[in-house]
């Protein structure tokens, strides 16, 4: 009896304490939440545009319903399989490849002692800052049939025939993965690098005193400590698995028709199809479709993570 009373007294005090502590915290959160509300939640009801037959006179909310008609074009086409497959496969490869390289580079950079590592870090970030069209020009400089660097300065001296790069499908998965890696590595490694720098150095000192090699230190200390970050970033990437980098898949292959089977993604298909139609409801439908699939996948992945590594789940 007495214990129960003590407990309730304690819980009351605890709640009060948390309330007193919570108010300044809520105040801290307020500007951010306000922004989120204005920027993200206020326009969100507009999602129903995807289900409407839009007529300007009635606005978005007054327009007549169209049911799922606006989604039809995404599924009824013979390309539906190709674009979905391309989008998903590329994203999976991107996630894996970018992860390996970003973590690898971050680890290397964090361990290098010399001053030149600052130079490395700055230089590898630069490609991220270039717009997709400029990147497509640069890729063209390398892959152009007549004047391209590869055809002229590598294949010709070796006595090989020039390759019509923009018409051969088989090279492009590799080209696109490489360009995506090239563009993103400087940016992607930053978050891992800053996390690694925050690790307690004494762990490494202790390990090296115990005779651990560099490789052992990396695999036994750094990687496990990085796990939460890796899991979080991967989960977020899974949420975007139905999206693709439009610039990469449309501009870099120069919209070459011969390459469509390997470069056509949901985003490029929608863009090409709607360019003349200018149909805002159909493009809204594509957005909803992509979001919905990403949402379901992330929830599932998160559930999985919660079973295996509960503290690292997103929510």
């Amino acid at each position: 009896m007495a214990k129960a009373r003590d407990k309730s007294k304690m819980s009351k005090a605890w709640r009060q304490a948390t309330l007193k502590r919570s108010i300044p915290i809520y105040l801290m959160a307020l500007p951010g939440l306000l922004y989120l509300f204005i920027n993200n939640y206020m326009p969100m009801p507009g999602i129903i545009l995807a289900f409407k037959n839009y007529k300007a006179k009635f606005g978005i909310y007054g327009s007549p319903w169209a049911g799922l008609k606006n989604f039809q074009y995404l599924f009824s086409t013979q390309d539906a399989y190709v674009i979905t497959r391309n989008t998903i496969l590329y994203n999976i490869v991107f996630i894996i490849v970018n992860l390996i390289f970003a973590v690898g580079v971050a680890i290397i950079l964090s361990e290098l002692v010399s001053k030149t590592k600052k130079v490395y870090q700055s230089v590898i970030l630069l490609p991220y800052l270039l717009s997709a069209v400029i990147v497509s020009y640069l890729v063209y400089a390398f892959l152009s049939s007549e004047n391209g660097f590869i055809n002229n300065s590598i294949l010709k001296p070796l006595g090989r025939d020039p390759i019509a790069w923009y018409q051969e499908q088989k090279y492009w998965p590799f080209i696109l993965v490489f360009v995506n890696l090239w563009k993103g590595i400087g940016y992607n490694c930053i978050i891992y690098l800053s996390t690694i720098i925050g690790f307690d150095r004494s762990l490494y000192e202790a390990a090296s005193i115990d005779g651990a090699t560099k490789w052992q230190q990396i695999t036994k200390i750094t990687l496990p400590l990085l796990k939460p970050t890796i899991i979080m970033l991967t989960l977020m990437a899974i949420g975007r698995i139905f999206y693709s980098d439009f610039g990469l898949f449309y501009q870099v292959p120069q919209n070459s028709g011969a390459l469509y089977p390997v470069t056509n993604t949901i985003d490029t298909y929608v863009y090409r199809g709607l360019l003349q139609l200018g149909d805002i409801t159909m493009s809204a439908a594509a957005g909803v479709y992509q979001s919905l699939v990403g949402f379901v996948l992330v929830l599932s992945a998160n559930l999985l993570v919660r079973k295996l590594e509960p503290e690292n789940a997103l929510f």
């Binding site: 300007a56 978005i60 018409q167 469509y260 199809g273 159909m282």
Partner: protein
């Protein structure tokens, strides 16, 4: 004041009628009255002192140039005096125009008059963005200058299911098919006597055949092995080279447009096969650059830089001067196909009024004035006298002192988009009777029976997106001759059929037949 305005209107109407010399016998739309209501409306507005603003939007190549506000002010001087209305100009970058316009139209921002190019006339109609111009006699009362400027059949191009939603632009409606432009310096060097080939001394186009052209190409290729002999911009190859009519899009065309209203599949046709086979041959001969598919530079830019010898272009009066200017060197224009006016002649870039506008009467009156007032038209096309242009003394105008295309504050170079460039001043280099020639050119060209038909494809949008993607996959390869048509075309046709080509064509045919019946065309 009233008398003065009435006189002005009478003068304008007469001017309008003079512009249509030789075609007065063709049917015009009916006017509501003799123009007095419109004059009264203008007078009332001026008297009231409340000047509404009409916002005019159109697209340009380089966005909003520095002098735009100034020009809008000068235009407002005229519109205030004549209509009691102020105008604002809203030029936008070509690439962002469609997106910006869609956003503005959907969000209810003030844009009163705009050109439908790039946004798409049919999509605008479908989304309900446009005012019915004949509602309450809007056009008949306040747009009488427009009625005078166009025949009823020309305005009919902007009708959808009988309702008039837009007004066409005064420009070259017909096009000469399969024109080839070659700098004269190259022709001289390979010893082609092109000067003697003109049918008449004042002609600017040489009509010839493929044998001659292929012979020229062979010589060009031999003489200039490091230059690309020929390039055609793939986006416009089929529409500019073949004498067929493609209403609204390439899927389902009229192969015999002057005689029949039956739609067929272009890609299964002999016409298309011949075209692709010809380009395939040219490609095999090495006349087309191996990089043609991924070419990122415009044809005339390439010629100017000296890397290209010949290219395809559609022709029209004034083409020779135009292309010579663009290439930076005189060119000779050859033409291999007929002059032809397709069904989309009048509905690719109509001017329209936003259904959301506060004052449709004011908007219509401004639009009407743009079609009838030479000073207003010159302002919006060329800019201000003394600042952007000056007289040359022989009736032409040219750049003002110290001004050129790069540093001019208002040199948009989109007169083909302006309501009536025919009444504006004529730039140096074009003949002074250019517009008379243009009008007779338009009138004498072969015309498609489906002229004026717009296809509403809202029932088949899913097929359309699939078809576009399928065509896009093969287009450049076939039409630049990289793929053997014997293999490539069957594959393309198979993909198109799988994408729903037959359904799409059936729908188009049904709509075309409906339209034909409603307009009494066999």
């Amino acid at each position: 004041m009233k008398k003065f305005l009435a006189l002005m209107l009478a003068v304008m109407m007469t001017l309008g009628m003079c512009l249509s010399v030789g075609t007065a016998e063709e049917a015009r739309l009916e006017k509501a009255d003799d123009g007095s209501i419109a004059a009264q409306a203008a007078a009332d507005r001026i008297a009231s002192g409340n000047a509404p603003t009409v916002v005019i939007a159109f697209m340009t190549w380089a966005g909003r140039l520095v002098g735009t506000d100034r020009i809008a002010e000068k235009m407002s001087e005229i519109t205030m005096e004549k209509l009691g209305v102020k105008v604002e100009l809203m030029p936008m970058d070509a690439a962002s125009y469609a997106q910006n316009m869609n956003l503005m139209l959907a969000s209810g921002e003030q844009v009163d008059l705009f050109n439908c190019v790039s946004v798409g006339f049919m999509p605008c109609v479908n989304k309900g963005y446009l005012v019915d111009l004949e509602e309450d006699g809007l056009l008949a009362t306040y747009g009488q200058g427009i009625i005078d400027a166009f025949r009823a059949s020309e305005l009919g191009g902007c009708r959808v299911a009988g309702t008039l939603y837009g007004v066409p632009v005064k420009k070259d409606d017909a096009a000469g098919k399969f024109g080839i432009s070659i700098p004269t310096k190259y022709l001289d060097e390979i010893g082609v006597d092109w000067q003697s080939m003109y049918a008449n001394p004042e002609d600017e186009i040489i009509y010839t055949d493929f044998d001659f052209i292929e012979d020229v190409f062979t010589k060009l290729h031999a003489q200039y092995p490091d230059k690309t002999t020929f390039y055609t911009d793939p986006g416009s190859t089929v529409s500019q080279c073949l004498a067929m009519d493609s209403p609204s899009d390439m899927f389902g065309v009229l192969l015999d447009p002057t005689n029949s209203l039956e739609l067929s599949d272009l890609f299964s046709s002999q016409m298309y096969y011949d075209l692709c086979a010809r380009f395939y041959k040219w490609n095999q001969n090495g006349w087309i650059s191996p990089d043609a598919i991924t070419e990122t530079n415009a044809t005339t830019t390439q010629v100017k830089a000296g890397s290209l010898c010949a290219y395809k272009t559609a022709t029209k009066p004034g083409i020779r001067q135009q292309e010579s200017n663009l290439c930076g060197t005189p060119v000779a224009i050859f033409q291999l196909g007929p002059d032809f006016k397709g069904s989309s002649a009048y509905n690719t870039m109509p001017w329209a009024i936003n259904q959301n506008t506060d004052d449709p009467v004011a908007a219509m009156q401004v639009l009407n004035l743009l079609y009838t007032d030479p000073d207003l038209s010159t302002l919006i096309c060329w800019g201000e006298e003394g600042k952007e242009w000056q007289e040359t003394g022989d009736g032409h105008i040219t750049f003002a002192e110290g001004i050129d295309a790069q540093n001019s504050e208002y040199y948009n170079n989109v007169n083909w988009q302006m309501p009536n460039q025919f009444i504006a001043r004529i730039w140096e280099g074009d003949s002074l009777d250019l517009w008379e020639r243009m009008q007779s050119y338009n009138d004498n060209a072969l015309a498609s029976k489906a002229m004026g038909f717009t296809f509403d494809n809202s029932n088949v949008t899913a097929e359309y997106t699939a078809l576009t993607n399928a065509y896009s996959e093969y287009q450049r390869q076939l039409e630049l001759g990289f793929l053997n048509p014997d293999e490539g075309i069957p594959k393309l046709v198979e993909r198109l059929k799988a994408a729903g080509l037959d359904d799409y064509i059936a729908e188009k045919q049904a709509k075309l037949n409906e339209w034909a019946e409603a307009n009494g065309i066999q």
